[in-house]
Subunit: 133 residues, 3 copies
Amino acid sequence: VSELKVETQRRTQLLDATERIAALVEGVEGSLVTLFVPHTTAGIVLQAAGEGATAVGGDVEAAFDRIVDEGWSWEHVHEGDANPWSHVRTALTASSVSIPLEGGSLGLGAHQAVFLAEFDGPRARTIRVIVSR
Amino acid sequence: VSELKVETQRRTQLLDATERIAALVEGVEGSLVTLFVPHTTAGIVLQAAGEGATAVGGDVEAAFDRIVDEGWSWEHVHEGDANPWSHVRTALTASSVSIPLEGGSLGLGAHQAVFLAEFDGPRARTIRVIVSR
Amino acid sequence: VSELKVETQRRTQLLDATERIAALVEGVEGSLVTLFVPHTTAGIVLQAAGEGATAVGGDVEAAFDRIVDEGWSWEHVHEGDANPWSHVRTALTASSVSIPLEGGSLGLGAHQAVFLAEFDGPRARTIRVIVSR
């Protein structure tokens, strides 16, 4: 298990971690890379990168804020830092994703990038990286 | 593959299975634990536990019921036990999640717990546990 | 890593790929099969098959179109082929799922089938299949 530390800047943010993860697994022997996020208000999502990616990212962020509305009535708001909507948005993404490792390279699709999906930023976050055979 | 049997009590319910899964993998050699739910109206979700966890769980349950509304028009309601909304809620969670195994211990984050996400309870459910190298 | 090619016929479509995946892994040694979709407008979902499965599939498709509405205001619509809603629907499913391999057979539940979840069809799509120990 190796770890990657990232810092998010915004409340809801798709943060592209592809290059750093690719560098971590480069040349490593194995067939599968699993990415694991040890948080309850951030997940992991594979989405579009490259040309037009910023715009897609913004649309995805805005859509999550819309699908789970902060304005709904929530039980868990008696504490000052309560954010149940962040937990629900995270539950809609994933806490792990597994990607083929092919000849020591991350086997992503041509348009795929790895994003930490932040739903309670800004924060310091961790992505754990496990290679299996 | 080992199996864990759980019993849910409510229609929509996040059931904390962390301790029983941790006990199953304790001391087992390997690098990755995959949890698999062999059902189509229940999934698996990692979410907050400990202080305030009951409240977060209730908020997550209520939010899933709200994101996918039983009141929408549905095709698949000709049978008495039709519950298409349960299938959709399940599709929004996950059927599998993979967690690092570190020195024979489940490598969850400090605030993470493993929940079976029941969307058609009460029922007897199964979580399959696979350890890989 | 082996690959499965499928062709979708509709804009939003759950395409059942269970039999072809089961055939690919039949008799293969290992404990876990990971399915990976290298696309950003299609994901992978385990859902109900067999009796009544067509109807559930239609309900799941309609629900995704409803949860993420094309009529919302979107940033990324300056290009003729912009489809941010397809990306968001994909982010709500999964890019990978891992299934137990038991004696060379896919360890799905009795009512589970493997669906490619198409959100920008019709298209040629790929599912990558990785077996680990």
